[in-house]
């Protein structure tokens, strides 16, 4: 991972921090109000952390982890984002994905797309070749 990909990792790191922080507050102070929404928040937070780590690490295994976590996030933001608009009663409490991540400047919606674009352009084989050449 080099060049502008570093910036992608940094933004992922910030989002992971935001998701972990928010999830920590929700679970520590009002978990019983909405166990489902807050468990989902915690799961999303863990996946953001995992995605950040996977983007930093190299190798085929981490490349797969990066794809899996980023696809999971994209699915999450699309499904939960749609549900939160179609049937707001389902998610009375905000999650990182409600309204397609509106509370986070829509970063949760845009970031997985950038992540997938990055991964598609940088397969492990190509990276290895480039490192050999250099």
């Amino acid at each position: 991972m080099s060049g502008i990909g570093r910036v992608l990792v940094a933004v992922y790191g910030v989002l992971a921090l935001a998701a972990v922080g928010r999830s920590f507050v929700q679970i520590a102070s009002k978990f019983e109000e909405a166990p489902l929404a807050y468990s989902l928040s915690a799961l999303a937070a863990v996946v953001y952390v995992l995605a950040t780590v996977a983007l930093i690490r190299s190798g085929r295994g981490w490349y797969r982890v990066a794809w899996a976590t980023i696809v999971f996030e994209f699915t999450g933001v699309i499904v939960i984002g749609t549900l939160s608009i179609v049937d707001p009663a389902l998610f009375p409490h905000d999650t990182v994905w409600s309204w397609f991540g509106r509370g986070y400047l829509f970063i949760p919606l845009v970031l997985p797309l950038l992540g997938m674009w990055w991964l598609a352009k940088h397969r492990p084989g190509q990276v290895a070749l480039r490192t050999d050449a250099a």
Binding site: S2, R6, V7, A10, V14, F24, V25, A28, S29
Partner: protein, 122 residues
């Protein structure tokens, strides 16, 4: 929380963020100027921490969740050192952009902290 100080802090963080973004995109590697800008952002956060701890003793109480406030504050305190560490480790133009991203994230977090302390809409 002292409101005017917080606004100064947001302004400094935004200015530092834009400076690093512009210099980074212009191809400059991290310098004393950009690392120093992040150091100023961090210093103001430490001052903010001291103010937040002392303020309730002077009748300046947060209206919102104290736990949420400190989660933001501790998270924000972690960002500039992490970004500067990165910048010292890898001296590329993108590290300068990362410094900018960190400073802008701090600005947003400090603004959220002000909201939590002063007005609660949720």
């Amino acid at each position: 929380m002292i409101e005017w100080f917080t606004w100064v802090q947001v302004a400094v963080a935004v200015a530092a963020g834009l400076l690093c973004l512009v210099l980074g995109l212009a191809g400059r590697v991290p310098s004393d100027l950009t690392n120093g800008a992040l150091a100023v952002v961090e210093l103001l956060l430490v001052v903010q921490l001291v103010v937040a701890i002392a303020a309730p003793a002077f009748g300046n109480e947060p209206t919102g969740s104290v736990l949420e406030f400190y989660t933001y504050l501790v998270g924000a305190l972690l960002l500039p050192p992490a970004a500067v560490f990165w910048a010292l480790l890898e001296r590329s133009r993108w590290s300068t952009v990362v410094l900018g991203v960190a400073a802008l994230a701090v600005a947003v977090m400090v603004y959220r902290m002000l909201q939590i302390w002063t007005v609660q809409q949720a």
